[in-house]
Symmetry: C2
Subunit: 247 residues, 2 copies
């Protein structure tokens, strides 16, 4: 059989993991996937993810890619992996892709969702998947502020670790802030996200929602190209990678 | 200050606990509450719960009661306890009740909700709070069957451990089965529930939903007054105690 390249769609509850990327001695999503693939095929399979999500961050639509020489039909990979993966990780789809498919380079857009829970009593059934922030926030002001992020900008002010070798210019296609009861949901779609960018955006929007920062200040923060100009970083627990689109 | 009797409304994610009731060497909800009260007041406080929920069962509206000789104002108890309780347990309300209030005997009705998730891929963000049962179920048939449970019956067929000293007659006020996307939700309100009764009801309704049992068979199962007449027990993870009403 020829070697196939398989693209997996992966969901996970990141609460109990040290993020996506394999680190010796730590439980990681990439590590669990590699282990499940080794169990399934008997081979060491290199798995590449589209996004290196941080410790505590969850995903409903991460993408992972690997090459494999195995008789297992492509459409059976998701179920076969799910039988070996822990309960908080699951593959929802496996499709064969061309050999030149680039799981990182071919991304056209990603969507992250961030959940803030503002009631006084913490949401016990969801506390691992939200930021419990029991303070009054004005979602309309947050949404107004978010609109300044749309378009192509240098997002250096929203990147936790500036890597000067890499461009910090990204394009944000949409950033919507809505209130659902006691929850505030921030959905952001962009062609790429810098390190901690989504969490730094949410922390800054929360300053706006609390009345500490005016919406139009986002323009100045972008222009500053300096991390200290933006607000604090929001906790990892509220973040979920929802989907990734490819060209 | 006179001794006050306080009624607490408690929420918890039961996934990591060995149920409500204190057991030496195990993490239990009652044990964590007693520990938080000891930390807060310096005294050993006996806490009584309205329902002894099993290992893995969650609650959004459990009730607990204790007597206390403390200067802490009643309205501050919930917040003060939440500062000391683990993240997956929270008190949502504390009110003073009369000395003759009986947290078990004065209950007029309780509502339990059970969640079944029927899609093939397990719901990674909710897998600790549902029964992942990837099979086709007919929710309309399940609802039709559930209507035979309404009213006053001997529910011995649905009790895991028959205690002949105690009556197994209970009154069910409502049992509604609804589908929401890939989830099937069973909501049952009654004046009381026997040991594992709700989980045995759900297991039996699932037999109906799968076409293994006809809805009208529920009548025969009730009349048999024999646990082996009903279906299998559904897993604890899907069960949540939603609220308790008092006279």
């Amino acid at each position: 059989m020829p070697i196939r390249k398989i693209k997996l769609t992966i969901q996970y509850d990141g609460a109990d993991y040290h993020g996506w990327q394999i680190q010796p001695g730590y439980k990681t999503i990439q590590g669990e996937l590699a282990e499940a693939l080794r169990g399934l095929t008997g081979a060491n399979v290199a798995v590449t993810g589209a996004s290196r999500t941080d410790a505590g961050v969850s995903a409903l639509g991460q993408t992972a890619c690997f090459e494999i020489d195995s008789p297992i039909p492509t459409q059976n990979f998701a179920k076969a992996l799910n039988d070996r993966l822990p309960n908080d990780i699951a593959a929802s789809e496996a499709v064969e892709v061309p050999q030149d498919f680039d799981v990182i380079g071919d991304v056209t857009s990603k969507m992250y969702q961030y959940s803030i829970f503002t009631a006084n009593v913490r949401p016990v059934l969801n506390v691992r998947h939200c930021w419990h922030h029991p303070h009054t926030l004005n979602a309309e002001l947050m949404h107004e502020a978010a609109q300044y992020l749309l378009g192509k900008h240098d997002f250096k002010s929203f990147a936790s670790a500036a890597d000067d070798r890499e461009s910090s210019v990204r394009t944000i296609f949409g950033c919507d802030v809505t209130r659902i009861g006691d929850a505030i949901i921030v959905k952001t779609e962009g062609d790429g996200f810098l390190y901690n960018m989504m969490r730094n955006i949410v922390g800054t929007l929360t300053d706006v929602g609390a009345g500490r920062t005016l919406p139009a200040k986002i323009k100045d923060i972008l222009e500053a190209k300096d991390r200290t100009a933006a607000g604090p970083i929001a906790p990892a627990a509220g973040l979920c990678l929802m989907w990734i689109k490819y060209r």
